[in-house]
C-alpha cells in the first residue's frame, strides 16, 4: 500500500491526487504520524504547480464548484480530510459530472460531513468570538478553532465592525486576520502582547453579571448548554471564566 504525504496545502494535495490517481488503494494524508502497517510505502509529495494545475483543470471542467467544496474540506481538523477529498474527486471523474447531490453515496456523505463541520464551526464562531478592547482602541480576539477558518470569518467581522481596527488571532495555528480599519489581511502571529483599555474589565464584568442574571436557575440543563456551546470553546469566553470581580 502506498501512502502519499503532503504538507497540508491545497497545491500539494492536488499534486498528490495527480501522482496517486492510478495507484490502487493509495492513501493521501497530511498526518505524518499515522499508524503504518509493515507493507506501507511512504511517498512524500511536494507541491508541483503543473501537476496540481492539471488536476484542477480537469476537476473544474467536470464540476466548477468542486474545488470550492474541497477548499472547505481541507480546512478541516479531521485527519481523514485528504482521503475523503481524494475519494470525492475519484467519484466525480468516474461519473464525469458533479456528484454533490448523490446523497446516498458514502464518499459524498463523508465529504459533506467534513464540510458541514467546518461550516458549522464557522457559524458558531460568529457568535462565540470574544473581543477585548486594547489601550489603543483596537479590538483583539484570541481563539482556537478546530478548523482553519480565520480568513473565512474575517469578512463577517469587517462588515460589522466598519472602521474599527481589529485582530482575530488563531493561537493554535499562529496566524491572525489583522484589520487596520480599512483593509484586512492575514499574517503569521505567534504571541501577542495586549494592554487592555481602562474600561475593558468594567464591561467584561457587566457582561458576566448579565450572563448570570438572565439564566433561570430553577431550570438547570447543563447538558444542553454544553451541547450547543462545547466546553473546549469556553477558554476564550469571559462569562465561563472566573466569577464576577
Amino acid at each position: 500500500m502506498k501512502v502519499f504525504i503532503t504538507d497540508g496545502t491545497a497545491e500539494a494535495f492536488y499534486t498528490a491526487v495527480f501522482v496517486a490517481y492510478a495507484e490502487k488503494g493509495a492513501i493521501i494524508t497530511s498526518q505524518e504520524n499515522r499508524q503504518l502497517s509493515f507493507d506501507t510505502e511512504i511517498i512524500n509529495i511536494s507541491a508541483d504547480a503543473k501537476k496540481a494545475g492539471r488536476v484542477r483543470a480537469r476537476l473544474d471542467k467536470l464540476d466548477r464548484y468542486a474545488a470550492g467544496d474541497i477548499d472547505l474540506a481541507l480546512r478541516s481538523g479531521d485527519s481523514l480530510k485528504e482521503q475523503a477529498a481524494f475519494e470525492y474527486i475519484k467519484l466525480i471523474v468516474q461519473n464525469g459530472r458533479a456528484v454533490r447531490k448523490m446523497l446516498s453515496l458514502p464518499a459524498v456523505i463523508e465529504l459533506n460531513d467534513i464540510i458541514h463541520r467546518v461550516k458549522s464551526e464557522l457559524h458558531n464562531m460568529k457568535g462565540f468570538m470574544r473581543f477585548m478592547e486594547t489601550e489603543s482602541g483596537a479590538l483583539y480576539a484570541p481563539y482556537s478553532p478546530d478548523n482553519d477558518i480565520t480568513d473565512l470569518i474575517a469578512p463577517h467581522f469587517k462588515a460589522r465592525l466598519g472602521m474599527q481596527k481589529f485582530v482575530i488571532h488563531d493561537v493554535k495555528r499562529k496566524k491572525a486576520a489583522l484589520c487596520d480599519g480599512k483593509e484586512w489581511f492575514m499574517a503569521e502571529v505567534g504571541e501577542a502582547e495586549i494592554y487592555l483599555s481602562e474600561y475593558e474589565r468594567t464591561f467584561e464584568n457587566l457582561w458576566k453579571k448579565y450572563y448570570s442574571s438572565v439564566n433561570i436557575k430553577e431550570r438547570p440543563h447543563e447538558k444542553q448548554m454544553k451541547g450547543y456551546m462545547p466546553v473546549r470553546y469556553w477558554k476564550f469566553l469571559p462569562e465561563k471564566n472566573s466569577p464576577t470581580e
Partner: protein, 417 residues
Amino acid sequence: MLDATTLQILTESAKYDVSCSSSGSKRANTADGLGNASVGGICHSFTPDGRCISLLKILMSNECVYDCEYCPNRRSADVRRAHISPDEICELTINFYKRNYIEGLFLSSAVSGTPDKTMELLTETVIKLRKQYNFNGYIHLKGIPHADSALAMKAAKYVDRMSYNIELPSEKSLKLLAPQKTKDSLITPMKKLQTAIVYDRENKVKKGKVLPAGQTTQMIVGASPESDGQILRLTEYLYRHMDLKRVYYSSYIPVVESPLLPATPTGLLREHRLYQADWLIRFYGFDVNEICGEGENLSTEYDPKCAWALRNMHLFPVEINKAPLEMLLRVPGIGAKSAYKIIEARRFAALDFDNLAKMRIVLKRARHFITCKGRFYGSEGGALKAALLIDEKSRTDEQLSLFSTPSVALSALTGEL
C-alpha cells in the same frame, strides 16, 4: 455608567420573555456605523438552563402602573425596582456588541407613568441608538399597549422586529386577568404595523423598510381555560391574517397566589405539544382542522404529526422512492432536511432502508409509515402504537426533564407586557 445591580434587576425582570431570536433581518452596516444583522440569526452564548443568548434582553424600567394578576412586576408586588436612561442603554448595547457578546438589543419596559410616556422613551432610545450611536445591529422592541400607535409606527422605521404580547388566548381571560390591557390595545397597533409591512412588501421597498423581521407575540398557556384547539385557531389566524413571524407559548405556573388563577402548574408537555403543532401550521402547511378540533386538546401521548398520521393510516405507508415532497413531509420523523436529502438522492439511485440509515434519516418513527423499494420495515396495528409510545416517552422525557421543577413555572410570567 450603569451599575451591576441595576443591570441585574432589569435583566431578571426581562428574562422570562421566551423570544430571543435575532433572525429575519439583513440590515447592512453604514459607512461610519457599527453592526449589521445576519438573516439566520446568531447565538452568542448559552446559559446553564440551556437557553441561548442572542440579544441583550432588558427592561428600561420595571416600575409598573398596571396590576396584571400573573405578573411579578405588577404594581402591588414587592420587588426591587430600577430603571435606566436611553444613553445608558445605548452605551451598554454598543460596548457589548463591539466585544461580540450580543447580536443586538431586545428592549422592553413596564408601563412607567403613562403608556404614551413609556413608548416615547423606548422610541427615543432606539432612534438615538440608530442615529446618534450609528448602531446597525439587530433591535427587537416591545410595543406598549394603549400607547399612541403613531409612536409605534415611528419606532418601527428604526427597529428590526416588534412584538405586542397577547398574553391570554381570549378576550374574556384578558379582561379577567389583565384588566388594564384590552384586546384592542394589542390588536390595533399590530394591525397598523402589519399594514405598513405589507405596503413595503408590495411596493418592494428596499431601504428603510419597516420591521424587516416582522412581528411576533407570546401567550401564556393554562392560566385560563382555553383549549389547545382554540389557541391553535388563534395562532393560525395570527399567521395567516396578521403576517406574524412567530407565536411563542409559555406554560403557566402559579407564582402569584390569586383566586383568579389556577393553583397548579400547566405541564410543560402541553407547551411542547403546542410548539410542535405551531411548527406544523407555520412550516409544514398543515391546516389547524387536521391537527386539533376546536374544543379539543392535543394528544399527550403522541406528537401532533404522529397523532395525525395514526388518524390517517389509509394514506400510509408511502414508498420512499416515489412519494411527492408534500407527502414525505407528512411522515412522522421526517423533517424538511431529511425530505430534501431523500428527494435529491433518489434521482440518482433507488433507496433502500440501509441507504436511509447511512444518510442519517431518523427511522425510529418513520419506518412504520414508509416502504423502501416496496418493503415494509415497521409494525402495524397494536404493535405500531406500542412502538410509537415507547419512542415518544423516551423523547419527551429527555426534552422535558429540564423543565421538571415547578418553579420553572416562572416561564409563565413574562415579567413585562
